[in-house]
């Protein structure tokens, strides 16, 4: 088997390229390899679909500003402000 055919059947490499593609443009060769692979591999097509879905779930559940329904407890906050006030009075 030459390297080219090997890659067509290589799911490890294909899933790597699927992940890389989400953040960085692939080279022409990489694109060709991945497309050839996906054309013949339904498992990796499914992987790709699920991978993109997981990204969406993460964006929803782990938004970069955090979840609005999460709060610190009031007791902790009160003590924290007291601590800040103390430190300010030192100066």
């Amino acid at each position: 088997m030459n390297t080219f055919t090997k890659i067509i059947y290589n799911c490890r490499k294909a899933t790597f390229l699927i992940e890389k593609k989400q953040f960085s443009p692939l080279s022409t060769r990489e694109k060709l390899e991945l497309n050839l692979h996906l054309a013949g591999c339904s498992v990796c097509r499914l992987f790709q679909q699920q991978s993109l879905l997981i990204n969406q779930w993460i964006k929803k559940r782990f938004p970069s500003q955090g979840n609005a329904e999460v709060y610190l407890d009031e007791n902790f906050k009160e003590k924290l402000q007291q601590r800040i006030n103390q430190e300010m009075n030192k100066n």
Binding site: F47, L72, N85
Partner: protein, 198 residues
């Protein structure tokens, strides 16, 4: 003069530590908890952020808002923690453990999926899933299971959409190592979700 009201907005930006907790504590805590995933550590981080901010209050030049400035301090603390959590022997064993698990995913010879690890169709509909409390819990648990360094890379890229270059510099990674981690983290996460939910 018409521009008077808007002139030099920086001059109105000063620090107001008396109001920090009421204005920013929840915000900073939320910011931390999606990136660190441990309540106790996040509370400490919020406290440390305010105390560090007081110490360098004289460096605040009003070029950013108070909120942006505090968030930047917290962000640096989070990255310090990522570095700390992913250096040393135990974290390296943890990574090795996950790598060994993944060796089974693909045939060592030809890289094809081994049958028992092939992704299977998710049973639940994507829209139902995201509303589901139990699913959210599983997603969180699966994220927590990632080795610290993988979690750090994954969250900086996926949540913060940080430049690859920046992540590599801050976590001291080579580019090729970075892409390997992005790939492995997703393989682990997907497998964990399938195993525990679908």
């Amino acid at each position: 003069m018409q521009s008077d009201k808007t002139a030099n907005p920086a001059s109105t930006r000063s620090l107001n530590p008396n109001q920090w907790v009421i204005n920013y504590a929840d915000y900073l805590y939320r910011y931390a908890i999606v990136r660190i995933n441990q309540e106790e550590q996040c509370r400490d981080l919020v406290q440390e952020t305010f105390l560090a901010a007081l110490e360098k209050a004289d460096q605040f030049e009003g070029r950013s808002t108070e909120k942006t400035w505090l968030t930047a301090i917290l962000r640096n603390k989070i990255i310090d923690l990522y570095r700390k959590k992913s250096s040393g022997l135990a974290p390296k064993d943890e990574v090795r453990h996950h790598e060994v698990l993944q060796e089974d995913f693909f045939d060592a010879e030809n890289g094809h999926w081994n049958v028992e690890h092939q992704p299977k169709a998710f049973a639940a509909q994507p829209d139902e899933v995201i509303q589901n409390r139990e699913f959210n819990h599983i997603l969180q648990m699966c994220m927590k299971k990632l080795p610290a360094l993988w979690f750090a890379v994954f969250s900086m890229k996926h949540m913060d959409e940080e430049q690859t270059e920046v992540i590599c510099t801050e976590l001291k990674l080579s580019h090729s190592n970075f892409w390997v981690i992005i790939h492995r983290a997703k393989l682990s996460l997907r497998a964990c979700l399938e195993k525990n939910w679908i």
